[in-house]
């Protein structure tokens, strides 16, 4: 029997174990259908509000820059597409990492909603290291700043892991609280009169951090560094995907993590230190998210403005990325590409306003993202498909 229908799942399963069952059963068909349904629903909204959904989606697709791969593109169009694709890949970088921060926790039966806080803490430390220590050798400066981001993210998430391990406190609640503490601490640090507000006398009234020094900026390898070309962070994110896969599938820790995810009680009984796993897993999740924050400030933002701190939704996209990607490495990559495309395809910079207003389109992105998570939350479609297949099979046997 390849798949268990919902009715036969053991009671009190963790989220992760349920997801794992669906993973074995649904394959990549279910996420594809989910995305399709979400886009269809989004198209209906566009249609209902008096716009042309096909033209809108075409314009959004053009805005993603994915058409760069089409060989028949004219030279001019390819130049424009390249600019858009660089943007999309810049966004893909943190989305992979915030996605991994959610996915790794899921595999251990934990739900990490704290990606936002971990990302913020990572970006704060990275911007501080990156804008201080003038005169440090460039490569060393980059490494130290990235490490600061990773470690601070790990420590921030580690708090939630520690509380889960020691007092059994639900990690959902603690990570939500830690998100908002990180937001307000960030606003305080870089706000007017805050300890880390910029020390440039001409920007006394601007609540923004110091700029990252030239030596700590990540090199741009595609496009113009002055026009926000693609920085090397994408390779670091891809490497993180490999680390995630190896960690999970080729190490003792990964084996333990998955065992705890399936059933904490069984894992405990077979001698696995569940508490240690909770702390480690949350710290690793935080490391991924913190790295995402560090790469963003060192790759293209170069400073943190207080307004941007609460407005940053990347970590919530990370939840959609991980769920859509079924908490696997390859799935997370594809999910990150999809949502990065959506974010940039609907941005003011890339979407043709004569076809569809970018402000509307940005909200369309949020809607599609919400729908994707909602549909995945239950795997209605998977269960439905499973039943259908099972019925057919029993009918075939009867005949």
């Amino acid at each position: 029997m390849s798949a268990l229908p919902d009715d036969e799942l053991p009671p009190n399963m963790t989220v992760a174990s349920r997801a794992a069952v669906y993973l074995r059963s649904g394959g990549f068909v279910a996420p594809l259908i989910t995305v399709l349904v979400a886009f269809l629903a989004g198209g209906l909204v566009v249609l209902a509000t008096g716009h042309n959904p096909i033209e809108t989606y075409q314009a959004i697709f053009k805005g993603t820059g994915f058409n760069w791969v089409f060989p028949w593109l004219s030279e001019d169009d390819r130049t424009i597409a390249a600019l858009a694709l660089q943007q999309t890949l810049i966004t893909t970088t943190p989305l992979i990492l915030t996605g991994l921060a959610v996915a790794f926790a899921f595999r251990c039966g934990l739900f990490n909603i704290g990606g936002q806080g971990q990302y913020i803490v990572g970006s704060i430390l990275a911007v501080w290291v990156g804008s201080s220590f003038d005169g440090m050798p460039a490569l060393l400066h980059i490494v130290v700043a990235i490490l600061a981001g990773i470690l601070s993210g790990a420590a921030w998430a580690g708090i939630a892991g520690l509380l889960k391990a020691v007092t059994g406190t639900n990690e959902v609640i603690t990570t939500i609280m830690l998100n908002w503490i990180a937001i307000w601490v960030g606003v305080w640090l870089f706000g007017l009169g805050g300890p880390l507000q910029n020390d440039d006398p001409t920007r006394v009234d601007v609540p923004v951090s110091n700029d990252v020094l030239a030596g700590a900026k990540l090199p741009v390898f595609w496009g113009d560094a002055q026009l926000q070309g693609l920085h090397i962070g994408i390779f670091i994110a891809l490497a993180a995907l490999v680390v995630f896969w190896v960690l999970l599938n080729r190490t003792t820790l990964g084996y333990e993590v998955r065992a705890v995810g399936f059933s904490p009680d069984a894992a405990e009984a077979s001698g696995i230190n569940v508490r240690r796993n909770y702390i480690l897993v949350m710290a690793i999740c935080g490391a991924f998210a913190g790295l995402g924050g560090a790469l963003d400030v060192m790759g293209w933002q170069f400073r943190i403005a207080t307004n941007d701190i609460p407005a940053n939704q990347l970590a919530f996209f990370g939840i959609a990325v991980a769920l859509l990607g079924r908490n696997t490495a390859i799935g997370t990559l594809l999910g990150a590409l999809l949502f990065a495309g959506l974010i940039n395809g609907t941005s003011t910079r890339n979407l043709d306003p004569s076809v569809f207003e970018p402000q509307l389109a940005t909200n369309l992105t949020y809607m599609i993202q919400g729908l994707v998570v909602l549909l995945i939350s239950t795997d209605v479609l998977v269960v439905y498909l499973l039943r259908l297949r099972r019925r057919r099979r029993t009918q075939a046997v009867a005949a």
Binding site: V15, M177, G191, I368
Partner: protein
């Protein structure tokens, strides 16, 4: 004196340590504050060692807060203090800031007491904020605006109910999805309907209730001129307490959240009970959102709830899923916001940190340092299929 009384005395001393340093007493000597706070912490420690951990730790924390707050007050100028600490205005502002949180927390209480986790309060509130403003604008009446807000909130909550209860989805994932969806839906409609101009300036708004109690020294300033929705929020707490803890309906609701199988065996329709509870939750949270848009700020802006739904959730947990304690928590958080909004007079950057206070306190509360917050037993568990 019993250890418990000592613990309560510790809490009172901690509050006193702060109180003596601000108007009307305005003691200028930090020694008084330090002595009072030290006494509070000593009494708290005694209570802890004598076995009264919860109240004892409460006393120690109160002493610490009193020490920091009181010491800060003795170090700042009298004129500044008198501008910031105007008790009447602070009290009224506390209630204003607490109102959306009260609606949210009470709404969350219905849902969570019935066994359904509701982290979608933020989204439900946002729906209420938009549809309250839109409804009031379309119909020209704030009453219909509130009605439309409640209907929209309940309908939105019904999606959560459908996925969480009927489809047995993971309730946290579907709640997260609803929060995202609410940002998208309200943002889209806002841009579509109001465009760049924003909501009209003549948006009908919920009126204030003027009471003829100006002559009362403190109460007149606090309660004399409050928004109608503030009173409704306070009434909602009372009604919720009666309904949930003093009626058969409430007993059924709580049994669905504590032991759904037993409730089902006893003939209760757990699924239906949970549906009603979640939808009530949405309607109440939406009222909190509508207070923001047509009671307080008289406009709608994208994502205007800005985390208030999560503070409401925090207050619910901090208040141990009980209406009275949750009200106390929302008032505490509201006081923090009220103080933060007046502090910029002499410390703009420090005031911001006050915004983090609710979350820090809740973090401490859920970890069990000051007594454990124990959720309803079956919270987050779908009803097993029979």
């Amino acid at each position: 004196m019993t250890p418990k009384r000592v613990g309560w005395a510790a809490v009172a001393l901690g509050i006193l340590a702060f109180f003596v340093a601000v108007p009307p007493l305005t003691v200028r000597s930090p020694i008084v504050v330090i002595v009072l706070a030290a006494l509070a912490m000593a009494a708290g420690s005694y209570a802890v060692t004598a076995g009264e951990k919860r109240i004892g730790w409460g006393g120690i924390v109160a002493g610490l807060v009193g020490l920091v707050g009181g010491y800060a007050a003795t170090q700042s100028g009298v004129a500044n203090l008198e501008r910031v600490v105007v008790w009447g205005a602070l009290g009224a502002a506390t209630l204003r800031y607490a109102t959306p949180l009260i609606f949210g927390a009470v709404g969350g209480l219905f849902s969570e007491r019935s066994g359904v986790v509701n982290i979608a309060l933020e989204g439900m509130m946002l729906m209420g904020a938009f549809f309250g403003a839109w409804g009031a604008d379309m119909t020209g009446s704030w009453i219909l605006g509130l009605v439309i807000a409640v209907v929209a909130g309940s309908a939105f909550a019904a999606i959560h109910a459908l996925f969480a209860i009927s489809f047995r989805a993971d309730q946290i994932v579907s709640g997260t999805a609803l929060n995202l969806l609410a940002v998208g839906i309200t943002g889209y409609l806002y841009v579509q309907v109001y465009g760049d101009l924003g909501t009209p300036d003549d948006l009908p708004s919920v009126p204030n209730v003027s009471l003829p109690i100006d002559w009362l020294p403190l109460f007149g300033d606090v309660f004399g001129d409050l928004n109608l929705l503030v009173w409704l929020a306070l009434a909602a707490v009372l009604v919720t307490w009666i309904v949930v803890f003093r009626t058969p309906t409430g007993l059924r609701l709580r049994s669905a959240g504590e032991n759904p199988l037993a409730a089902e065996t006893a003939g209760l329709n757990v699924v239906r009970t949970r549906y009603y509870a979640v939808m009530a939750s949405g309607g109440l949270a939406a009222l909190g959102g509508a207070f923001l848009s047509i009671g307080f700020l008289h406009t709608f802006t994208q994502n205007m709830t800005a985390g208030r739904g999560f503070i409401a959730l925090a207050a619910l947990i901090f208040g141990r899923w009980k209406p009275g304690l949750a009200l106390a928590a929302t008032l505490l958080f509201g006081f923090g916001s009220a103080l933060a909004s007046r502090l910029p007079v002499f410390s703009p950057s420090g005031a911001v940190l006050f915004q983090a206070l609710p979350y820090v306190l809740t973090l401490i509360a859920v970890t069990g340092l000051i007594g454990r917050s124990v959720p309803p037993l079956a919270l987050g568990r779908p009803l097993p299929r029979s």
